[in-house]
């Protein structure tokens, strides 16, 4: 995502996978921002609605997903690391 900006500032890209599919984002991007930009819902609500970040500051819990096997991780608090594996909930 945002490749032109990352080329301009020479920010290295980081590869990661979401539900088995590979994406890349500039280093320093949080998982919540990466998923929102890719249009991928973090989780399904209890009635089946797709949900996306609301507060951006770790309070609303809407951006929770499974990160490297750990369930219910607030993805707005996690910077994407190379090879990180995310499964939406």
């Amino acid at each position: 995502m945002n490749r032109s900006a990352s080329a301009q500032f020479a920010t290295p890209l980081v590869d990661f996978t979401v539900n088995g599919k590979t994406f890349s984002v500039p280093q320093g991007t949080t998982m919540a921002a990466a998923l929102l930009h890719a249009g991928i819902a973090n989780r399904q609500s209890v009635s089946g609605e797709p949900r996306h970040p609301l507060c951006g500051m770790g309070i609303c819990m809407e951006c929770c997903a499974t990160v490297d096997g750990a369930a219910h991780v607030r993805t707005c608090q996690v910077e994407v690391q190379p090879g990180m594996n995310v499964v939406t909930e």
């Binding site: 995502m1 945002n2 900006a5 984002v25 500039p26 320093g28 991007t29 949080t30 919540a32 921002a33 990466a34 929102l36 930009h37 249009g39 819902a41 609500s45 209890v46 009635s47 609605e49 797709p50 949900r51 996306h52 970040p53 609301l54 507060c55 951006g56 500051m57 770790g58 309070i59 609303c60 819990m61 809407e62 929770c64 750990a70 219910h72 707005c76 608090q77 910077e79």
Partner: protein, 420 residues
């Protein structure tokens, strides 16, 4: 278990100022925060190269104090419980830990007040501060069409930031009336620093239409946000946009003060002249004592840091009182108007964690009854979002906390407290 003279909860401006003042007076200090960086929400992503504004220079000073090695900094740690007197239980991804304090300074900041409206769970609808946080976290915004709505000075600050990042702000819709905003502007004459900030923000957002007495009534879209409906006085119009940032001023984060049984008065932590709460040796600084912004937070933090290490803070009290008066002006001006109560329709979700609609809450009489019968406020956010919403919509008192104040692992909760 490690013991400290002073433990500070929160690495925003108030916490940073408190920790720095206490440490400078020889106390052993530990500062704890859930996030991986200092600066809180207001100084999120602040680089030391952009220190041109006086308060930015203050950030650089405080950041270097935190990095000096004299202060123990525990990033990525959330306070989940208070398992024994003067003990806090922290949890991080690597495990849990108890720390003992002589004095505790609570600097937990604030969050946005969210009021539900049809479509507020769509992708692309966030808080006003929420969208700023997401952009600072790497969300590309250049060329995107953004609407900001809700209430408070944050709307202008966020628009100025987003314009700088290349967004197109299609409108800023403030629910307060023109008369309220004018009165507020007049009051600002007593606070020259704030007046200057306000003027700078307005200048930076000249390209964006700013409307008072207006609010978003609906967000629409297939899969993601495509348009919003806005009511400006009596006129209804539709705007196509990519993102909506909607937040109604701020509410304090009171979970930790509640857990510690600090007295709360009219929605804020009650403190004395020395920032001490009703609980001995527990101090509270920044937004939880009144939403007043950066300068108030820095001033109160410094007062608490000085007082808990036996120093005088007399030279700061006049300034603090002036900031408190400003906080009260903010509250008065940006309190949500009664008409906003009509925006949420019967099928609008109020509790997003448990998908509880407004209709489902209709026959409930209290927050507690709603929790028991509908699961409203029982999900992972523990009522942090829907609590303030039900306070406004239904007049309930949702102020209540019990451990764990955030979801925690069973192993964390099961731990016993080591004797000294």
């Amino acid at each position: 278990m490690t013991s400290f003279d002073v433990v500070v909860a929160g690495t925003g401006p108030a916490g940073m100022a408190a920790a720095t003042a206490a440490s400078a007076n020889g106390a052993s200090v530990c500062i704890v925060d859930d996030t991986a960086h200092c600066g809180g929400q207001i100084w999120r992503g602040q680089g030391s190269d952009s220190a041109t504004h006086p308060t930015d220079r203050r950030f650089v000073q405080l950041q270097s104090a935190l990095e000096s090695g004299r202060i123990i900094v525990r990033y990525g740690n959330r306070v989940v419980a208070n398992p024994a007197p003067r003990v806090l239980r922290l949890e991080s991804t690597s495990g849990s830990e108890d720390i003992r304090f002589h004095s505790l300074i609570v600097a937990t900041g604030a969050r946005e007040r969210f009021l539900p409206f049809p479509g507020w769970t769509l992708q692309g609808v966030m808080g006003a501060g929420g969208i700023q946080a997401m952009v600072k976290q790497g969300l590309p915004i250049e060329g995107k069409r953004v609407v900001l709505s809700g209430s408070g000075p944050l709307l202008l600050a966020v628009s100025a930031y987003l314009i700088r990042e290349g967004a197109r702000i299609l409108g800023i819709f403030e629910q307060a009336s023109t008369a309220q905003i004018a009165r507020f502007g007049f009051q600002l004459l007593r606070h020259p620093g704030k007046l200057r900030d306000g003027a700078l923000y307005r200048a930076a957002t000249r390209s964006a239409p700013y409307r008072t007495a207006s609010w978003v009534t609906r967000a629409r879209g297939q899969d993601r946000l495509q348009s919003i409906t806005v009511r400006v006085r009596d006129e209804i119009s539709t705007i196509e946009c990519d993102y909506l940032g909607c937040g109604f001023h701020l509410v304090p984060n009171l979970e930790l003060p509640h857990l510690l049984q600090c007295q709360i008065e009219a929605g804020f932590v009650h403190v004395d002249d020395r920032q001490q709460t009703s609980v001995e040796d527990v101090y509270c600084v920044g937004e939880p004592t009144g939403i007043g912004g950066l300068e108030k937070a820095l001033c109160e933090g410094e007062i608490a840091g000085l007082v808990c290490t036996g120093q005088s803070a007399a030279h700061l009290l006049n300034r603090r009182d002036r900031y408190l008066r400003f906080a009260r002006e903010l509250d008065r001006t940006f309190a949500p108007r009664p008409e906003l109560n009509e925006v949420a329709t019967p099928d609008t979700l109020v509790c997003r964690c448990e998908d509880v609609s407004r209709q489902a809450l209709g026959s409930m009489h209290s927050w507690r009854e709603a929790k028991l019968h509908t699961r409203c406020g029982m999900g992972p956010c523990q009522g942090r979002i829907c609590g303030p919403a039900t306070e406004f919509l239904l007049g309930w008192n949702s102020e209540h906390s019990r451990p764990p104040v955030l979801p925690a692992r069973l192993s964390t909760l099961a731990g016993t407290v080591d004797p000294l």
